[in-house]
């Protein structure tokens, strides 16, 4: 069971309650909620906010692939996964990503949650532009996308 969405910050803020509603089930005994939030300091620069950019279609495609791989690589078939990522401007402390997972047992939930965020970092085309206290802003360098060859 999978839910994925890119949420424009002008329309809505990401909500843990939405994630909880989606993954809650008596079938699962372990749930983990991971959130990424905007931090006030990066590379010794004082950050006031981040603008997130996204190739929405490719991001959603990557989320679905990552979910499917969890069946094959991690052998976790019974699971509920909720992934939402923000796009647009976020202030300090606001949530940029929620990954909520529910599995039968805790060891599966920890492994799955970590797997999803690490793969998103490598494969999902999302970019950050940091805004600083001196009114400057910079796109973060990032890493070349990892992908299956066509």
């Amino acid at each position: 069971m999978l839910h994925t969405k890119i949420v424009d910050s002008k329309d809505k803020k990401l909500s843990i309650n939405d994630a909880e509603r989606f993954i809650s089930s008596v079938e699962f005994g372990a749930s983990i909620y991971f959130t990424g939030t905007v931090r006030n300091l990066n590379n010794n620069k004082s950050v006031v906010g981040i603008t997130y950019d996204s190739h929405d279609d490719l991001v959603i495609k990557s989320f679905k692939e990552i979910y499917k791989e969890a069946d094959e690589k991690l052998n976790i078939q019974d699971k509920a996964v909720f992934i939402e990522h923000s796009k647009g401007y976020l202030n300090l402390g606001e949530i940029s990503i929620i990954i909520a997972v529910a599995c039968k047992h805790r060891d599966q939930a920890y492994v799955l949650s970590r797997y999803i965020i690490e793969e998103i970092k490598k494969r999902s085309p999302i970019w950050k532009k940091e805004h600083y206290t001196d009114n400057q802003s910079d796109w973060l360098k990032g890493n070349p996308i990892v992908h299956e060859k066509n």
Binding site: H55, I117, I120, G142, E148, N150
Partner: protein, 89 residues
């Protein structure tokens, strides 16, 4: 043939419209697009080296939302996305 390059991330700074239109020979590939974008940056931004580095380290995405290799042949009027190095989460 005409090709539209959709800009993402740091490449959005290449054009305010978030899109570059290129005129390419028939049977052009992603490799040719890379060269054309660098020519465009030479003309518009006086060869800004940081921008050129972005182009050289970027992947490209077809209209069907596949990441494609440098040998991928582009079709007329295809919209291609430039995917600079990523870093979400």
């Amino acid at each position: 043939m005409k090709v539209k390059i959709e800009l993402f991330g740091a490449a959005r700074d290449f054009n305010e419209q978030n899109l570059i239109e290129l005129d390419l020979e028939e049977k052009s590939t992603i490799k040719d697009i890379r060269k054309k974008i660098i020519q465009y940056l030479d003309e518009k931004f006086n060869g800004n080296e940081n921008y050129k580095k972005i182009v050289n380290s970027s992947a490209f995405c077809s209209e069907k939302n596949n990441i494609v290799s440098d040998n991928y042949k582009i079709t007329n009027n295809e919209k291609i996305g430039i995917i600079p190095p990523i870093g979400g989460g």
